[in-house]
Amino acid sequence: MEINNGDTAWVLASTALVMLMTPGVGLFYGGLVRSKTFVSMFGLSFLAFALASIQWVLFGYSLAFGTDISGFIGGLNYVGLSGVGVDSAPLAGNIPHLIYMAFQLVFAAVTLAILTSAVAERVRLSSFIVLALLWTTLVYDPLAHWVWAGGWLAQMGALDFAGGTVVHISSGFSALAIALVIGKRVGFGSYVMEPHNIPMSMLGAGLLWFGWFGFNSGSALAANGLAASAFVVTNTSAAAGALTWLLASWLKGKPSALGMVSGAIAGLVAITPAAGYVDNMSAIVIGGVAGVLCYTALLFRVGRGLDESCDAWAVHGMGGLWGAIATGIFATASVNNYTGLIYGNFHQFAVQIMAAGASVIYAFVMTMILAKIVDSVMGLRVTEDEEYVGLDIAQHGEKAYA
């Protein structure tokens, strides 16, 4: 297949858009924590991006997209990007292999950034680096292989257009595992830890929404009708999620602006696996349900006294889970060649549940193991004094605001 400049233009732009999501996550999370850890929180996202970027070009891409080994992992044929060049990508002949690789890279990077929610305000930097490298290699790369590179979930027929399982379930449930291992922040539950800069979180959410067009629509890997369709349902689901979370918080008390933008993210998460398979009306349902569901998950999480600090689990984990299942419900042949439960295809629905379930379990268990290992070898947490002073000063010797 020949390289198509128009398609390539859109994938180049999409890759840039998805890259911007990482600072977006950094700002979103950074606004949610206390001012004494803003630099740290933003920095973790940045660092996640840099680490994943290098890991991916060295061997991560190969593990995920190299020649399939028993459906579980990719071979080493692309190590150091050998054989990854300006010619057609094997899985997308219309664009250069290198930009296909880069598009996948920015996904791996933002997934790692999402994960930092779990360690907010208390992680040792060196332990984070080790855990991050282990996680992206042993959790993200296999999952990406399973779903997108002919692995066993793909063989089973699981659909995941832009990463509901690979990105969101994996980061969300992994965050849950890490939060359980690392434990609560000092004072969590006993005194209020308010978001210190909500507008920064809103700006972060704005950048996420913007970048998500690259994430979902770019996953068409072409500038065509499918990309257009994915673009539209992405926007619709985000808007629906924003509105339902806003309303749900209103019913409980006051309409929360932070809730509204979190709802948008929930809607974006939920539509991610479905973006290339469902139509606009389904997107309203998917996003609308996501807003309420993730809000409920957040309340549940808080109620359980669980300090998964920036709600990667509630929003990405639960939103991704819902999205993966919803793909099996709402997929319609009018958009792509697949149908879901509402068109009588129970099989697809069952496959989606299995794939989502397998991802939940793999991500949670594997991450739990990795976190425990890193914790016992190096210690995941800083000292109580360092945490009290705040990671910005204690770890970086820096202050967010002079």
Partner: protein, 109 residues
């Protein structure tokens, strides 16, 4: 009338406010400050070095109270603000000669 200045941990504000309210003390003024006590803040170890974080964020509460309330207010703040670790804070009491109310222009001595 006395002025009570209490420098306390920010994370204890809610408890202190509540405890004071229960004692009928409502009026207060709160100021963000940085402070260090005799311990010179907190010492942190890092890769072959020690670092002194000597100015930590505190809240300063200013309360103007009747003379006879001074002791109970001091006690209330101490009890509600205590964590038992260095840096819990200090309270200082000083005289006030006169006061006025902007809304009414009244002067009290």
């Amino acid at each position: 009338m006395r002025k009570i200045e209490a420098i306390v941990r920010p994370e204890r504000l809610e408890q202190i406010k509540k405890a004071l309210e229960e004692n009928g003390i409502v009026g207060m003024t709160i100021i963000n400050v940085l402070g260090r006590g005799e311990q010179k803040g907190i010492k942190l170890q890092y890769r072959g070095g020690t670092m002194e974080v000597d100015l930590l964020p505190k809240l300063k509460l200013e309360l103007y109270v009747a003379d006879e309330e001074v002791d109970s207010v001091m006690k209330t703040i101490c009890d509600a603000g205590r964590t038992g670790k260095f840096g819990d804070g200090r309270i200082f009491v000083s005289p006030v000669e006169k006061s006025g109310k902007v809304r009414t222009g009244e002067v009290f001595t």
